[in-house]
Each structure stands twice: as structure tokens, then as C-alpha cells.
């Protein structure tokens, strides 16, 4: 028995190394380095968590605080999901999403109040949510239409929508927030489910974020639509000459971004229990930050939903942890700025290989 194990042991070991080498051509150091780079943002995130855990004396890691962080990032993560789509497919950013949040907040609030007068409350909520998503999608389609048909630079097209959508939002409510929404509508932003299953309750915004991001992840990694998004962003001319409808691919990305912003807006409107025309300011920049920190390349064709999630999570964690640690918000902004810069520098190193 003893001799058996002695002979088998090393042989097995050798076989495993050979298999590993065969699987990871060209070379182990290169492969492991790539792996490290790929997950470096995760390592940074974990490091930040440990730091906060110590700094706050364990407060940071309490389950209810973790749920808090997830709920706080849900709006940004949802917007960033659409933004990831746009950046991957076009290599450009969608500047309009913050204003779309406001537009959808106001219009969905108005629609909801109008519908609630004529139909039972839950169908009214469902209908106004659906219409809200349609409004978001329509704004995205408008952006995409001018980019793909009239060759308006995406920056300009979405910049003009950034200005116009907020203007429309203010017009729709005469500049005053729309209050007195049906109390049931609050559930979307403030409700909890699965009480006690994972210890604490799970906020519904977290569920919405999770489902939405999983769907987006599946679309990007498993469907033709997703493949065409990567191909179009990676090399539009090669994609076109391979018979891919690159116009459609880009339209889909802008529509996805509009729908994401609308969904985020519903969560926000519900949380605030009102449609606020000045909501969503600067949200586009936080969404872009989440994508960039998560490794999405601003030259297009590269990025993942998982990365964007971690990006949003890192930003949210910094906010939360620094709050708990008693760092005031001005310093927090400085730190956020440095983190974005650091993430991009990290990405540049990654590209250099």
C-alpha cells in the first residue's frame, strides 16, 4: 500500500501539471498574471472591505449593513448595466441617462396618478411601470436613431438628450415634484421580501437589480444579440462585412440603456414616493464610473456585467464605509475620483500585455 501511494502520488502530480500546462498555453506565468489582472478589481474590493471592517469595528460587515450597501447601489447598478451595453457595442457613453431618470420619474408619476383614478390600484401600477419602460426605451431609440441614421456623434446625440429630457421633465410637472402617489407604489423601492431566509430581509430594489443584471449577463454572454454587441464594438467594419446588422446592434444598445434608466427611475420614484424633476442629476457619471472601474473598455468590444456590478459595488462600498467611518462627503468625492483613476490605470496595464 505504502509503495503504491508513493509511486502514484508523484505521477499524478506530474500529470496534473502537464494537463495544466496544456490547458494554459502559452505559459503559466503569463496565464496566472492575466488571471490576477482580471480579478485585481475583486482583490481591491475585498481589501477595501477588510479595511472598513477593521476601521468600523465590524459594523461594516453586519448583514443589515451589507443589505444596505446593496440597496444603495441598486439604482446605479441598473443604470450602469444599460451603460455597459452601450459602451461595449459602440465604444461611446450615453450621457442622457440621468435626465431620462428624471423624465421617467415625472411622467410615470403623472401616468400613475391618472390611471389610479380609473382602474384598480395594482393594474394601474403595473401599467404605469410598463409605460415608464416604454418611455425610457423610446428615448434610447431616439438617441440611437440619430446616431445610426444621421451619423450624429453619439456624444452629441446623447448630450442633446441630456439637456432636452430634463427640460421635458420640468415642463411635464411645471417644475414642481409630483407628490401623493398611491401608497402601494412604495413597495417597489421600499418593500422587502424573503424575510428571515438569509438572516435579514432582502430589499426589493436588490431583487430588481439582481434579476435585471442576470438577464443582461445572459443576453451578453449567451445570445446572438450579445455576440453582435461585442463584435460591433470590437470592429464595426468587420462585423458589418460579416453580415451583422450593426445599425440594429447599436439601436438595441441605446434602447437597453434607456430602459435601464427607466427601471432605475421607477425604483427611485417609489423610494422618494414622488416624481422629482431634478432627480437623477449626475447619475450618468456614476454609471460610467461603475463601468470603467469594472473594466469595461471605452474603446468598445470589451466588458462584462459582472465587472460592472463589482464596479458599482466598490463605489457603493466606499460611500457606505467612509460614511460609517465618519469621513465627510467632500473627502469621499476625492477618494472616488482617485479610485476611478486607479482603475483605468490598472486597465491600461492590462492592455499593454
Amino acid at each position: 500500500m505504502n509503495t503504491d501511494t508513493k509511486t502514484i502520488g508523484p505521477t499524478q502530480a506530474r500529470e496534473t501539471t502537464q494537463a495544466a500546462q496544456a490547458a494554459q498555453i502559452p505559459s503559466m506565468p503569463g496565464a496566472s498574471r492575466a488571471l490576477l489582472q482580471e480579478y485585481s478589481i475583486v482583490l481591491i474590493f475585498l481589501g477595501v472591505c477588510v479595511l472598513f471592517a477593521v476601521w468600523t469595528g465590524g459594523l461594516f460587515l453586519r448583514p443589515d449593513n451589507i443589505m444596505n450597501v446593496l440597496r444603495q447601489i441598486s439604482i446605479n447598478a441598473v443604470i450602469a448595466t444599460g451603460m455597459t451595453f452601450v459602451i461595449i457595442t459602440t465604444g461611446n457613453i450615453d450621457l442622457s441617462v440621468g435626465s431620462v431618470v428624471a423624465l421617467v420619474a415625472v411622467s410615470s408619476a403623472r401616468i400613475l396618478k391618472a390611471l389610479a383614478l380609473h382602474m384598480p390600484i395594482w393594474p394601474a401600477i403595473a401599467a404605469s411601470c410598463a409605460l415608464a419602460l416604454v418611455v425610457g426605451g423610446a428615448v434610447g431609440a431616439w438617441n440611437g436613431f440619430f446616431v445610426t441614421r444621421f451619423k450624429v456623434p453619439p456624444f452629441i446625440s446623447t448630450l442633446s438628450m441630456w439637456a432636452a429630457a430634463r427640460g421635458v421633465a420640468f415642463i411635464l410637472c411645471d417644475g414642481r415634484p409630483i407628490w401623493n402617489l398611491p401608497i402601494q407604489f412604495d413597495t417597489i423601492g421600499r418593500g422587502y421580501v424573503l424575510e428571515g431566509v438569509f438572516g435579514p430581509w432582502i430589499p426589493i430594489p436588490v431583487i430588481i437589480m439582481a434579476v435585471f443584471m442576470i438577464v443582461a449577463h445572459v443576453i451578453l454572454t449567451r445570445t446572438r444579440t450579445g455576440r453582435y454587441a461585442y463584435a460591433t464594438g470590437g470592429n464595426m467594419e468587420a462585423a458589418r462585412l460579416s453580415g451583422i446588422n450593426v445599425r440594429k446592434a447599436r439601436m438595441i444598445a441605446y434602447i437597453a440603456s434607456g430602459v435601464s434608466a427607466a427601471l432605475a427611475s421607477l425604483v427611485l420614484t417609489s423610494r422618494l414616493a414622488s416624481g422629482q424633476p431634478n432627480s437623477g442629476e449626475m447619475y450618468e457619471l456614476y454609471a460610467i464610473a461603475a463601468c470603467v472601474v469594472g473594466g469595461t473598455s471605452l474603446s468598445g468590444g470589451k466588458g462584462t456585467i459582472l465587472g460592472t456590478f463589482i464596479g458599482a459595488l466598490l463605489i457603493g462600498t466606499l460611500n457606505n464605509g467612509l460614511n460609517l467611518a465618519g469621513v465627510e462627503s467632500y473627502t469621499q468625492n476625492v477618494i472616488l475620483g482617485l479610485v476611478i483613476l486607479g482603475a483605468v490605470i490598472l486597465d491600461q496595464f492590462r492592455k499593454r500585455d
Binding site: 445570445t223 470592429n235 468590444g301
Partner: protein, 525 residues
């Protein structure tokens, strides 16, 4: 150096023979020795020697891809050399950046001009060297700026207002401005890359006058051109590059047009091309009267199953444009294409692919492949629905298909998950091929199928093309490499200025004849 100017004031092209060895020849202002440059998978320059004498006009000729541009880019500091040395006035110099080349008095005028369109002529001429008014603030001294520019332009006999925006100039005028810019930097060596490509005859005369004026001022000129007539009109000496090597260096008066063509083409026609098949199938593709204003003029031809139709011609003859028109990538003004007797819609590549036509583009990296994607993803890109179930890509079937092609085409890659960016040129081309085979193409158009691919891999590509043909696929092969055209094609079309200049069955033709048709000299001789 007064004696140098005295020499060049004489008719320079007579120098080497007329004065013979009794007088010392002008010294070399530039010596590029044993310059070698390798790109992944291909050697662009192989120990090339290039000497430029002071005050001469030296033509650099060669087929597309012979290495002219690479040599010039190394001189200009736009590319780094792998081996060899560059000597300027007998001193070794290391030119690492374009800026250094400029400082050394080397100025390159590329085909696509480096002018800023919305700035005036004088601002362009003085770009980066604007004279500054004395005193604090560093304000631009506009009168001086326009004055210097105007002076240079007068010297060169350019009759334009220095304040005209460059965007309003004709191509020829822009070129003059480029030359003025070069002169104003006191360039001693001016390199012109295909300066005549877009000029009319009259403009060309003006250009030649200008070049001669430059030489009288002591400038040495490297003149790159495809057009041999020009070389004989303007140059004192000529260097012929072929496959990254120097094929000939001669005084222009000791050579002839035929001689140069032979040097440019003159490869051994080794029997290293796959055998042709005797029997061709029925007509699969018929192109009728395709025209596009200024580019293609009434082009008609047919292609049979199993046939390899070679299309050749000079740069700008309309080869790539023809391919893109058939593929639906560019619009056409008139004409149509029939595939197996059915009229094709030429509206988009998507349509062409669906109907069985594919195009392996000349520029694999820019147009053929998504470099950041894997071998697997690129293979299935044009026919993803074939491995999809509903909206979802079936990863297992996709991998199976990709693996299948990796084996069949012997693609050298660590695996199907390798990014194509990391493959050699030959293997990238095989991935392109895999993509089109996976899309069930009936007709494949290859645009420069072996551009940038090393010799061994070329053979494999040739074998594959022939194998496809014998499987009944119709192949159009666009190429500027004459041996390849002659060795591979069953039939050859020569294009000249958007028209078919000749249609020649294989085996009845030599490179010189093709070159004659391609340069527009077909009917005359």
C-alpha cells in the same frame, strides 16, 4: 559645399556617364545599410541597402508590398528597424521618432497629407515653429509668420495667398504646400511617397519643375512611384525593391522600362503552386456592366464553378472597389450580378452572405476579423444562427464547429479560445477562411489573400484555395503579386483605371505582358 551645387547645376542625370570616373561622384548624403524589419509572420525588409547621393533624384520602385513604405517609415522615424544602420553625412544616426528625422533635415511627404485643413497655408507651413513676438506672453508674430511662408512660396514659384485655408486647395496645391513646408524646415532630404497618384498631367509637370528647383537648391529627393514613365522623366538613379530585398540599383540611363519591370516582377516561377484542374463547372457568377462614377466603368465578366479567376492591376485600378461592389459593401450606379442565374440584390453584405457570396478583405485586421474575439467567435460570426437555438448560441455546437475548422484548415493556435489578435498573419487568414466556409459560401472573393503572410503559410493558403475550388466553389482572387496571379489563376483579368484592360487565359502570359496592360500600355505595343 559649393562643388555639390556646381554638380547639380549641370544636368544631373548625365553625371555618372558623362563625367565618368574622371571626376569624383557626389558623396552619399544618406546611407541605409543592411536594414532589416520583421513583422509577426513576415519579413518586410531583409538587409536592404539604400544610398542617396547628394543632390540626386533617386526613384524607389517595386510592387505593392515590396517594402518601399517600410523603408521610408524607418527613415522618417515612424517605424523602428530591427537591424542595420543609418548614416547621415557619414555619421551614424539613430532615428527613433519623426521629430528627430525632421531635426536631421529629413522630410517625408506621404500620400495622405499631414496638413491641418482649417488652418491657412502659412500656419500649416510654420506649424510647430511659429515665430514669437519679443516680450512677455509668447504671442505669435503673425506678420513674421506670413512673411516667412510667403518667402518660401515665392522661392518655389507658388502663386497663392499664404492666408488661404488649406481646405480650399486642390490636391496638387496641397502637395505644393507640403513641399513648401518641407523646404522651410531646411530639409536636405525630401521623400515623396507616390506624389503623382492623384495629379493631372499638367500638375505633374509643375511638380517636376518644382522638384528640379529643389535639387538646384541642394536638396536630395527620394521619389517613390508606381509609374515608370515618371521615373524615367525625373530620376537620376533607381532602386528596385522586391520582396523586401534590393533587386537592382541603376543609373536611369543604363536601364529600360522592360528591364525595370523584370527586376520588379522577376521571381522564379517555381512549380510551387497547386495544380490546376482541367474541368470547370457551369457558370456560377455573372457580373454585368457594373459601374460606379469615377471608380468602375462597365465591368462584366463571368466565373465558373471550380474556377480561380485572378484579377490584377495597379493600386487605384478599382480591384478592391469591384470586390466591394459585388459584395454589396459599396453602392453601384448601374449594373447587376447574377448568382446561379438569379439576380442578386447588391444592397448589403448581409444580403450577399445570405445568398452565398463572401469577401475575404485585403485588410484582415481592420475589416476581416474582430481581433479581440476568439478563434471560435470569429469562425461563427457570419453564420451564428447555424449554431443557435432560438436567440441563444449553443456553445457546445459552436465550439465543435470551430474545432472542426481548426483541424481541417490546420490553423495553428493554442486553442479555439485564443484571441485572433495573437495569431500570425497566415493563421488569421485561415480564420477568415473558416468564417466564410462556415457561412456556406458559393463564391469567395479573396482580396490580396497572402498580403503580409510569410512564404510557408502562403503555400498553405494556395493549397486551401485550390481545394475549395475543386469542391465546386467559385473563387475570385484579387492580387498585385504577379507570380501569384499567374501561378494560381485559371484566367486573369487585368484592370486599368476602372476598366478591364485584358482578359487572359492562364498559362499564355508572362508578367511583363500583364504589367504592360496594367500600366495602360496594352494596345500600343
Amino acid at each position: 559645399m559649393p562643388h555639390r551645387i556646381a554638380y547639380t547645376a549641370l544636368a544631373p542625370r548625365l553625371l555618372p556617364v558623362a563625367l565618368g570616373e574622371e571626376y569624383p561622384l557626389p558623396e552619399n548624403i544618406l546611407e541605409m545599410r543592411r536594414i532589416t524589419k520583421r513583422y509577426p509572420g513576415v519579413t518586410a525588409l531583409d538587409e536592404v541597402d539604400f544610398y542617396l547621393r547628394s543632390g540626386e533624384i533617386h526613384a524607389l520602385v517595386g510592387e505593392n508590398g515590396a517594402g518601399k513604405s517600410t523603408l521610408i517609415k524607418i527613415l522618417a522615424g515612424a517605424e523602428s528597424k530591427d537591424a542595420g544602420e543609418v548614416k547621415l553625412d557619414g555619421r551614424v544616426v539613430e532615428i527613433m521618432q519623426p521629430r528627430q528625422a525632421k531635426d536631421l533635415g529629413i522630410s517625408v511627404i506621404y500620400q495622405d497629407f499631414g496638413l491641418v485643413p482649417h488652418l491657412s497655408i502659412s500656419e500649416n507651413i510654420m506649424l510647430g515653429r511659429e515665430p514669437i513676438r519679443p516680450g512677455p506672453g509668447g504671442f505669435i508674430d503673425w506678420p513674421a509668420l506670413h512673411g516667412v511662408a510667403a518667402q518660401v512660396m515665392t522661392e518655389l514659384g507658388l502663386n497663392l495667398s499664404p492666408r488661404t485655408p488649406v481646405s480650399r486647395l486642390s490636391v496638387a496645391q496641397k502637395q505644393m504646400v507640403e513641399i513648401a513646408k518641407a523646404v522651410s524646415t531646411r530639409a536636405r532630404i525630401i521623400v515623396m511617397d507616390e506624389p503623382s497618384a492623384t495629379l493631372t498631367l499638367h500638375e505633374l509637370d509643375r511638380l517636376f519643375d518644382l522638384i528640379r528647383a529643389l535639387v538646384r537648391q541642394g536638396v536630395s529627393v527620394v521619389y517613390i512611384s508606381h509609374r515608370l514613365e515618371e521615373v524615367f522623366t525625373i530620376a537620376d538613379r533607381v532602386t528596385v525593391l522586391r520582396d523586401g530585398k534590393v533587386a537592382a540599383v541603376k543609373p536611369i540611363c543604363q536601364t529600360s522600362r522592360e528591364d525595370l519591370i523584370r527586376s520588379m516582377v522577376g521571381r522564379e516561377m517555381a512549380g510551387d503552386y497547386p495544380k490546376r484542374v482541367d474541368s470547370l463547372g457551369e457558370t456560377i457568377l455573372a457580373v454585368e456592366n457594373i459601374s460606379r462614377a469615377g471608380v468602375l466603368h462597365g465591368i462584366s465578366f463571368t466565373l465558373r464553378k471550380g474556377e480561380i479567376l485572378g484579377i490584377t492591376g495597379l493600386v487605384g485600378a478599382g480591384r478592391t472597389e469591384l470586390a466591394r461592389a459585388i459584395f454589396g459593401a459599396d453602392r453601384v450606379d448601374s449594373g447587376w450580378v447574377m448568382l446561379e442565374g438569379r439576380k442578386l440584390s447588391l444592397s448589403s453584405p448581409k444580403n450577399a452572405i445570405a445568398q452565398g457570396i463572401s469577401l475575404a478583405t485585403e485588410d484582415r485586421k481592420e475589416q476581416g476579423l474582430v481581433l479581440g474575439m476568439t478563434v471560435r467567435e470569429n469562425t461563427t460570426l457570419a453564420n451564428l444562427q447555424a449554431v443557435s437555438r432560438g436567440a441563444f448560441v449553443d456553445r457546445a455546437r459552436e465550439s465543435g464547429a470551430a474545432l472542426d475548422f481548426v483541424r481541417k484548415l490546420a490553423i495553428k493556435t493554442p486553442g479555439i479560445e485564443q484571441k485572433v489578435r495573437n495569431l500570425s498573419g497566415g493563421n488569421q487568414q485561415k480564420v477568415v477562411l473558416a468564417k466564410w466556409l462556415f457561412a456556406n459560401s458559393k463564391v469567395v472573393i479573396f482580396d490580396e489573400p497572402t498580403r503580409g503572410i510569410d512564404v510557408g503559410a502562403k503555400q498553405e493558403i494556395y493549397q486551401l484555395m485550390r481545394r475549395l475550388a475543386s469542391d465546386g466553389i467559385g473563387i475570385i482572387m484579387i492580387s498585385s503579386e504577379l507570380p501569384e496571379v499567374m501561378g494560381m489563376s485559371d484566367r486573369i483579368l487585368v484592370l486599368h483605371e476602372g476598366r478591364i484592360a485584358a482578359e487572359i487565359p492562364a498559362g499564355q502570359v508572362d508578367g511583363e505582358t500583364i504589367m504592360r496592360y496594367a500600366t495602360g500600355g496594352g494596345q500600343a505595343s
